[in-house]
Each structure stands twice: as C-alpha cells, then as structure tokens.
C-alpha cells in the first residue's frame, strides 16, 4: 500500500516537473511548482520525516509560491518562446544526469541498516538523547543542541538573506510615497 502511494506521488511529481518545463504560462508554472513542493512534503510524511515535511510544506509550497507570485506581478505572464533548442544544453543535461545515476549505484540501498549514515552518530542520538538532552523529539535535540552550531549558521543565513534583499531593494520608508487609504475604506 505504501509503495502504491510512493509510486503515485513520484509519478505526479514527475508529471508536474515536466509540465513546468513545457508550459509557457508563468502563473501556471508557479502554481505547479507549489503543488510539486506539497507532494514532496507528502512524500516526506510517508517516509516518517514529519519535521522535514512541515518545513517543505511551509517554505516550498507556501512562502516560495507567494514570492514567485510577487515576482510575477512585475513581469509578463507569458514566457517568450526562445525559438531555438540548444543541442549542447541537452547533451550537458543528459550527461550530468547519467553521471549522477552512475554515482547512485555506489550508494547503499534504501533503508540499509549497515549504511554509513546509520552507523555514525545516529545511534548515539537515538539511544542517549533522552538522558543527555531529555526532549521527546529527537529531531529538536539534534537541531538545537547536538548541532547547535549548524542551526546558528542557518539562522544567520536567513538573517543575511533579509539584509541582502534590503540592501539591494532599498532601506527605510521613502517619505511622501506613502499612499493615504482610499476614501470610505475602513481600517481592519
């Protein structure tokens, strides 16, 4: 049953990814990208990674879609046909894809208990985090305590992103440009 859900979700993700490539209507592309993220989030739930699914649904399906729609209000809604298909691009993409698939042949099979990722620190987190950190949610223990430096770095990245956007698109209110509320409009 789980395999059926996996296959159905992956097929839907593949179809939306292809549709994103083919469609020229950018509004539809933004919406499809959002639904792609939502399906990825569902896939993470099936894989029992609820924390990741939560983030994917909130950021990938929610905020990014809104940001893309915000960008769409500044550009035309139809993508201009480029008129030519670059053969070199196809060759590079297919070559890189083949290389990546070749690289996955070396990876341990899915769910292999002997895989390096399950033998490194994961056992310590699962077995000892209740005594060392004491939180029921091991993911929070890992993110906030064991990997506190990483999370500090991630928070700084978010902060830097906002600072960068402000630096490029402008600081502070420009006086005089603020529009007064239209007549008869009630404040919420």
């Amino acid at each position: 049953m789980i395999e059926l859900i996996d296959v159905a979700l992956l097929c839907m993700m593949a179809v939306s990814a292809l549709a994103v490539l083919w469609l020229r209507n950018l509004f539809a592309v933004a919406m499809l990208a959002g639904s792609y993220s939502l399906m990825a989030a569902t896939l993470y739930v099936v894989l029992d990674a609820v924390d990741v699914a939560f983030t994917e649904a909130a950021v990938g399906a929610g905020i990014s879609t809104v940001l893309m729609l915000g960008a769409l209000t500044l550009v035309p809604h139809e993508e201009k046909p480029s008129g030519r298909h670059a053969l070199s691009g196809l060759v590079v993409t297919v070559g890189l894809g083949a290389l990546l698939i070749y690289a996955t042949l070396d990876m341990p099979s899915f769910g292999d208990a002997g895989a390096p990722v399950h033998r490194h620190v994961a056992n310590r987190y699962i077995e000892d985090s209740a005594a060392e950190v004491g939180l029921p949610n091991v993911v929070t223990s890992v993110l906030a305590s064991y990997r506190g430096y990483d999370t500090l770095g991630e928070t700084t990245v978010i902060f830097t992103a906002a600072i960068g956007v402000l630096a490029v698109l402008g600081w502070g209110g420009r006086p005089g440009r603020r529009r007064p509320p239209a007549d008869g409009e009630t404040r919420p």
Partner: protein
C-alpha cells in the same frame, strides 16, 4: 483585492488561528514535529495573507519596519547570546547543560531560548523579504 468581502472576512477569521498555530508549533516543537523555523514561517505566512488581502499599508502598520529589523537582529543575538551565556556560566559555547543547576533543565532552557531566537529571526526576515518584494508592485502599495 480590497473590495472582496468574502476574502476579507475569511482572512480576519483565519489570521488569529494561523498565528495561534505558529505559537503552538514554536512551543510544542520539543515534544512534537515543528520548532522555531517552521513556527517563524507560519507566523510570517499569517502576516503575508493579511498583506495580500488588506494591502501592504495596513500590514506595515501592524508590523512596522523598525520592529522587523530589530526582531531580525534580536533573533540572531538571542541565539548567539545563549552560547555566550553558556561560556559565562562555565561551559563551552552553545553548551546548554550549564545554564541551570540540573543538566536536563539547562538543556531545556537553552533549546527553548535558541528556538525562540530562530523563530523570531525567521518570522521577521521572511516578512521583510515579502514586504520589500511586494512593495515593488504598484497595486499592493509603495516600497518598504
């Protein structure tokens, strides 16, 4: 979108619950899925919904630029400050065990504060990014 009554009423009903859910995700992240990052994103999405329906001017009144910028910096400072507090109380940087007499209580306090910093930073940073981008659009209102 300012003259659509259904959207306005539905938004007014939804926003408090979105913010409440974000607070639940923030403070329940130790016990269930969620945490500061997700809570910050959900909190921001509440304000983004408000801005989309009522316009940027009202959203800016509710969440002024100064508050967002101070909140952004405070989020990172809270996180880094917890690390320094651990050093001052005799541990290493970002070692929460020394923050309280009991090891586990110290861990709990440290994680709570750190997640609070993450949530605050993510919330204010994302709303800032959205407000600045949306401010480029004449229909929603002037720039940030």
């Amino acid at each position: 979108m300012r003259e659509k009554p259904i959207l306005r009423v539905a938004t007014k009903l939804l926003v408090p619950f979105i913010l409440l859910f974000a607070l639940y995700v923030q403070f329940h992240g130790d016990f269930g899925p969620g945490g500061g990052f997700q809570a910050g994103v959900i909190f921001a999405s509440g304000f983004i919904l408000y801005a989309l329906v009522f316009g940027l001017d009202f959203a800016r009144d509710a969440l002024p630029a100064a508050v967002r910028r101070v909140g952004m910096s405070c989020g990172v400072l809270i996180y880094a400050g917890v690390g320094v507090a651990g050093m001052l109380t005799g541990g290493r940087y970002l070692d929460y065990s020394v923050l309280a007499a009991d090891r586990l209580a110290g861990q709990h306090i440290g994680i709570f504060l750190v997640e609070l910093g993450v949530g605050l930073c993510v919330f204010t940073a994302l709303t800032t990014i959205f407000f600045v981008f949306a401010g480029r659009n004449r229909d929603l209102g002037p720039g940030d």
